[in-house]
Amino acid sequence: MSAFKPVRPLGDFWRVLIAPAIWFAHFSVLYASEALICTGPPADRGTTMGWTVLLATAAASAGLVVLVAGLLRSGNTAPPTSDPGGSWFRRASLLLALLSALGIIWTTLPTAVLPACAF
């Protein structure tokens, strides 16, 4: 009986979750740093927050870029019929990366407008 595919590790499944996990990490870092910075001295809140946002967003973007690049590359090599391990998960991951990127952009957007710790 050839109908069943060999059991493969859960990697493909987990990979789908990487992009939204990056969004969540970025989100948590920004939220937590704002909370922490606001308990600290008022003097250099703005700069600390600015750097945090910059670093966190750079890291998150880099993560997404690496993920997407990997997905696109494996798309060129994987046989097109290897569902569900291959293209199906790959394309789902790409769309999730897009949504997560939007999420990250939206999280970052207010930091350009609003000062840290202001009520």
């Binding site: 009986m1 109908a3 069943f4 595919k5 060999p6 059991v7 493969r8 859960l10 493909d12 499944f13 789908v16 979750l17 939204p20 996990a21 969004w23 969540f24 989100f27 920004l30 939220y31 704002e34 909370a35 922490l36 606001c38 308990t39 927050m49 569902d83 569900p84 391990g85 199906w88 394309r91 789902a92 769309l95 999730l96 949504l99 997560s100 939007l102 999420g103 939206w106 999280t107 957007l109 207010p110 930091t111 609003l114 000062p115 840290a116 710790c117 202001a118 009520f119």
Partner: protein, 841 residues
């Protein structure tokens, strides 16, 4: 989509007595013994029925409130009664109706839909149901004894603290709801393992019915969201009972901590309720349109994205608490992000409708009603996600209107669509189309008449949770309209009940069948055992794309046309590819789940009324029942069996192959989330009142945690050694038993060491927030140590009884997982309790 015709695993004709034997093995208990049944169909009926009962009860409460508010300065209900009623309405709708009913639909539908004979843990499912049933009824009846909570379904302290709510109502809420959450988690574990491991062979994840996907995400979200509120209820109950000041500002606690924890659960909760309903819509729209779901992959992506984004929304409910603007804006952004997946789903359904021909029968009407109401609710959701607008709208009737549009539109309308749609699969007769149309129009018109005006009354300044209002406010006309609408809506529900009485004839075998010409497996001919044989699935719409599937399944050409081992059994498949892995024996009817549930409920309820001794006895009895039921699980491995076309499956699995291992992993995720919520609380409270953290000199000396940590690590090592010494077949397990017992003792000793060190250092939990938090870590550690010790005792007993060895080892594997997790959590706790104050100083 049609693949090549499959080779059939089993040849016809089937032996004459095979089907009768199968039916005998799966026969359900007769008459009142039905309460001992554990089969998903029967439990599913009970579960859905009970949830609907609570829907009606909470609905009646809503009508009482609407009567009270119909005219200004009304005296129909007293202030205190009204406060109890609105608290109960929200609590019952959210905890006793919304989550249970979707879980119930999962229990009822999933096995059939996925091509399994039952859930992987039938007795756990039965336990979850009965716990909910008993606990829910007791909780609701507090209303009749004037003991109901009146602090709102959100239970904000300090209003719910012992100082401002000295009565028992708040305790009933905390223990009752905490307990029902545990039942929900049990159900979630069942669903995750069921969806991932018991799909029909060949039903790869991308061919799974969308309802399966939504239930998977639903259960996953429960695993991460519910522990936060369980922790919150624990903290508040400890504060009320033992004066540990978690939410008391004077001793360093913070009222906002509750709000963070509650909404970390509460916002995902909305999506926890909505996603399964969306899954139902994703099943109904294709079936009623006769077209495959457009953008299946997009919808799956949307579900996963919702699962994540919804965890970035909790402060959305705290926009007016004076948190810095920038923090608020992050949550505003996430609120925008979570709108995207809903948009994807809505347009995927519209595309599906466009690609087929939607038959405008009752289920479709409810789906269309859902689309309208939910879209409107989503849009007002975008409005309240705008922080400045929310400063005005928050806690007004605008928000009441908004979330009823989201919840009733997003969940109740799809649920009614589902009732009309799936009844033919579970009843001899279908529901009436004529009554159904009336029901729909009454509900749709009634809903909008009731809730649309609330947007306006809210903007005119009417706050939530007011038992009356003066005539001069000009809210009276709008409120009267709302009340009329509410009764119209109720009339629709009444008509539905009449329809049920007239036409619902539950049946396991002789159903109306696939009257919609739908495509998924639950529409195969079914009997008590599910489908006659378990099909090979090659398409997302198997009944459309695999010709003669129904006849072939019914003829017994596919897997397991009879019972191979003479027991109830189903096929366990791999999580992604659904490749058959082993044959799982399932338990039959029994008293233990029911009794365990009753004793567990009694334990919690007796604790509430402070009957501690009786409570402890009931708790012990509950544990005893569980042990009795576990004794027969994990049966002796039999030889591998041939399930057809040369596939030989083992009848036993251990380690990561076992479905039981998966369940334990999910349970540990729950425990881990709970602990993370605690770590968050610890750090959060430190940012609020760092002045309560002691100087390093005042801390317990480092030697104590060092000893404790050493014990923990040693315990892990001992358990690993014990695993190496598991007896081979028929040999004595003496050395294993000694080491397993020793490991349990070591773990308990580590806990004792930590607690006594803190105590000797002069720390007391009620003094201030730091003390409370340190002892809370110990409490959470004890909460893990206790089950580990019981389980270790159980493993030793099984070894003595000759039921645990190198092969039959699932009990030990699960013990190990739990043990090593507990060690990890305890080490983190030590680090926090002893390391953090030194670091912070």
């Amino acid at each position: 989509m049609a693949d090549t015709a499959p080779e059939y695993p089993n040849r016809l004709p089937r032996p004459r007595r095979e089907q009768a034997e199968l039916a005998a093995i799966w026969a359900r208990p007769r008459s009142w013994r039905i309460v001992t049944d554990v089969n998903n169909t029967v439990i599913g009926y009970f579960y859905v029925g009970t949830a609907m009962l609570f829907f009606l009860l909470a609905g009646i409460l809503a009508l009482l409130m609407r009567l009270q508010l119909a005219v200004p300065s009304n005296t129909f209900l007293s202030q205190e009664t009204y406060n109890q009623i609105f608290t109960m309405h929200g609590t019952v709708m959210m905890f006793l109706f919304a989550v249970p009913v979707v879980e119930a639909m999962g229990i009822l539908l999933l096995p059939q839909m996925l091509g399994a004979r039952d859930q992987p843990f039938p007795r756990l499912g039965a336990f979850a149901f009965w716990a909910y049933f008993v606990g829910g009824l007791i909780f609701f009846s507090t209303l009749f004894f004037d003991l109901a909570p009146s602090g709102g379904w959100f239970m904000y302290p300090p209003l719910t603290s012992s100082q401002f709510s000295p009565g028992m109502g708040a305790d009933f809420w905390l223990l009752g709801i905490g307990f029902i959450e545990i039942s929900a988690i049990a159900g979630a574990i069942e669903i995750i393992v069921g969806v991932l491991r018991t799909r029909a062979p060949g039903m790869t994840l991308d061919k799974m019915p969308m309802f399966g996907w939504t239930m998977l995400i639903f259960a996953g979200m429960i695993v991460f969201a519910f522990p936060a509120v369980i922790l919150a209820t624990l903290l508040l109950e400890l504060e009320r009972t033992f004066d540990w000041p978690f939410f008391i500002a004077a001793r360093g606690g913070d009222a906002l901590l509750w709000q963070h924890l509650f909404w970390f659960f509460g916002h995902p909760e909305v999506y926890i309720i909505f996603l399964p309903a969306a899954g139902m819509v994703s099943m109904i729209v294709p079936a009623m349109s006769g077209a495959t779901l457009v953008g299946y992959r997009f919808v799956v992506v949307a579900l996963i994205a919702t699962g994540f984004f919804s965890f970035g929304l909790w402060v959305h409910h705290m926009f007016t608490t004076g948190i810095p603007a920038l923090s608020l804006s992050f949550f505003s952004a996430a609120s925008m992000a979570v709108a995207l997946p809903s948009g994807i789903q809505i347009f995927a359904w519209i595309a599906t409708i466009a690609s087929g021909r939607l038959r405008l029968l009752t289920p479709s009407l409810f789906v269309l009603g859902f689309l309208f109401i939910f879209t409107l609710g989503g849009l007002t959701g975008v409005m309240v996600a705008m922080v400045p607008f929310d400063w005005q709208a928050h806690d007004t009737y605008f928000v009441v209107a908004h979330f009823h549009y989201v919840l009733v539109g997003g969940m109740v309308f799809p649920l009614f669509a589902a009732f009309y749609y799936w009844t033919p699969a579970f009843s001899r007769r279908t529901l009436s189309e004529r009554l159904g149309r009336w029901t729909f129009w009454l509900m749709f018109a009634g809903f909008n008449i009731a809730f649309f005006p609330m947007h306006i009354s809210g903007l005119m300044g009417m706050p939530r949770r007011v038992y009356t209002y003066p005539a001069v406010m000009g809210w009276d006309v709008l409120n009267m309209i709302s009340t009329i609408g509410a009764f119209l809506f109720a009339a629709g529900i009444a008509l539905f009940l009449i329809d049920l009485v007239r036409n619902l004839r539950p049946s396991l075998s002789d159903t109306a069948g696939n009257i919609w010409k739908a495509a998924t497996l639950e529409w195969l001919p079914n009997d008590v055992y599910g489908p006659r044989s378990i099909p090979i699935v090659t398409s997302v719409d198997p009944l459309w794309d695999q010709p003669h599937l129904a006849e072939d399944v019914e003829a017994g050409r596919y897997y397991l046309p009879g019972s191979i081992t003479g027991r109830r059994e189903t096929i366990v498949t791999s999580p992604i590819e659904a490749t058959p892995q082993y044959l799982l024996s399932l338990p039959g009817p029994g008293w233990t789940p029911l009794l365990a549930a009753i004793f567990t409920a009694a334990f919690f309820m007796l604790l509430t009324v402070k009957a501690v001794t009786l409570a402890v006895i009931c708790g012990a009895l509950a544990v005893a029942m569980v042990i009795v039921w576990m004794w027969d699980s994990d049966p002796k491995p039999l030889a591998a069996v041939d399930i057809g076309s040369g596939i030989k499956l083992p009848t036993y699995a251990a380690g990561s192959l076992s479905h039981s291992w998966w369940a334990m992993i999910v349970l540990l995720l729950v425990a881990g989330s709970l602990y993370l919520a605690y770590v968050f609380s610890y750090l959060y409270l430190w940012t609020v009142s760092p002045q309560f953290w002691p100087k390093p000199a005042a801390l317990a000396p480092v030697t104590a945690p060092a000893v404790s940590a050493l014990l923990l690590v040693a315990g892990s090592a001992i358990l690993v050694a014990a695993g190496r010494l598991l007896p081979r077949n028929r040999r004595s397990g003496r050395r294993f038993e000694v080491l397993a017992g020793l490991a349990a003792v070591t773990l308990a000793a580590a806990l004792m060491t930590e607690v006594s060190a803190q105590w000797r250092a002069g720390l007391r939990p009620e003094t201030d927030i730091h003390g409370a938090l340190v002892y809370m870590a110990a409490f959470l550690q004890a909460q893990m140590v206790l089950p580990v010790v019981i389980m270790a005792g159980f493993a030793v007993a099984r070894s003595l009884g000759g039921r645990l060895d190198r092969e039959q080892r699932v009990v030990f594997d699960n013990l190990s997982l739990l043990y090593h997790y507990t060690v990890g959590q305890s080490l983190l706790g030590l680090l926090l309790a002893h390391g953090f104050p030194r670091l912070a100083a």
